[in-house]
Symmetry: C2
Subunit: 165 residues, 2 copies
């Protein structure tokens, strides 16, 4: 059975993960990309290279950011943010990068494994010849969340399959 | 270093996973949700309950579906589909549900763990009082993919952090 998450539960999901999916839309096209992030209590902070998603978010700053977590038993939680893209520069960009790096370091040490997908690997500006890195935040305007604690039961599925065969 | 995936590599990602993220957009709102799926070579097949995302896809059938895979060493692959939502009914809906159930059963047995997030647990129509289940496909119009094989190196990140402190 699916439950709506309370604000405190949604925030726990956002603070416990480092990996989510950004959804943006511009020019009649919707785009979903995986990203590492850190949540600071008001915004999702992330870094990416100049490219399609940055161009789309500059065009239409109203974006979605989704974070989920699945247990080994199949129980899951999902947090969905509606927010506003804001590009960072100067000291706010440097502070955001430091927060992201600290978060990834902490997770790296806690979990003994990592999938940071490039975020934080390059300082703003990057090495010569590389594409420019863009620090940004998604200012949270609305957040919702759902969870399902009942694990998946194969027998139920097979009965369902029988019904439709 | 990030590489563009060839069509055959993108298809391998789509066929090897059972879990992706759907992005849809309607009424000035972008929405990203996790979903189990099966890829049949031309479409993403999935099931969901009547609700916000179905209403949005009926309003604007141009959607995005993203699938990614991360290895323990941090290497990752991501496939992004641009496609068109199409609702299924009658025999095509029943065939789609069977394909989805078969795929989830196979993965369940292969991996010894599962996170199907409800898909296929309820036959179309569902038990009395439940919300109606909707079978649909996303007809692939365009697919792109990227990978990064170089694992994350903390020292590189720390150097990047030093530069900006």
């Amino acid at each position: 059975m699916i439950h709506e998450l309370q604000r405190i539960e949604i925030e726990r999901v956002l603070r416990s993960e480092v990996f989510g999916h950004l959804g943006c839309h511009a020019g009649d096209r919707t785009y979903v990309v995986p990203m590492t992030y850190v949540y600071d209590g008001a915004s999702i902070i992330a870094q990416t290279g100049e490219g399609q998603k940055v161009a789309m978010m500059r065009d239409n700053p109203n974006v979605c950011f989704e974070v989920d977590h699945v247990d080994a038993d199949g129980a899951w939680e999902s947090a969905i943010i509606q927010g506003r893209f804001e590009e960072l520069s100067g000291e706010p960009a440097r502070a955001a990068l430091r927060a992201l790096i600290e978060r990834l370091d902490l997770i790296h040490h806690q979990r003994g494994e990592m999938s940071p997908r490039g975020a934080g690997r390059t300082a703003p500006g990057g090495p010569p010849g590389s594409r420019r890195e863009v620090m940004f935040r998604i200012i949270v305007e609305q957040m919702t969340g759902r969870s399902e604690t009942v694990p998946w039961i194969p027998e139920v599925r097979l009965e369902a399959g029988d019904e439709v065969c």
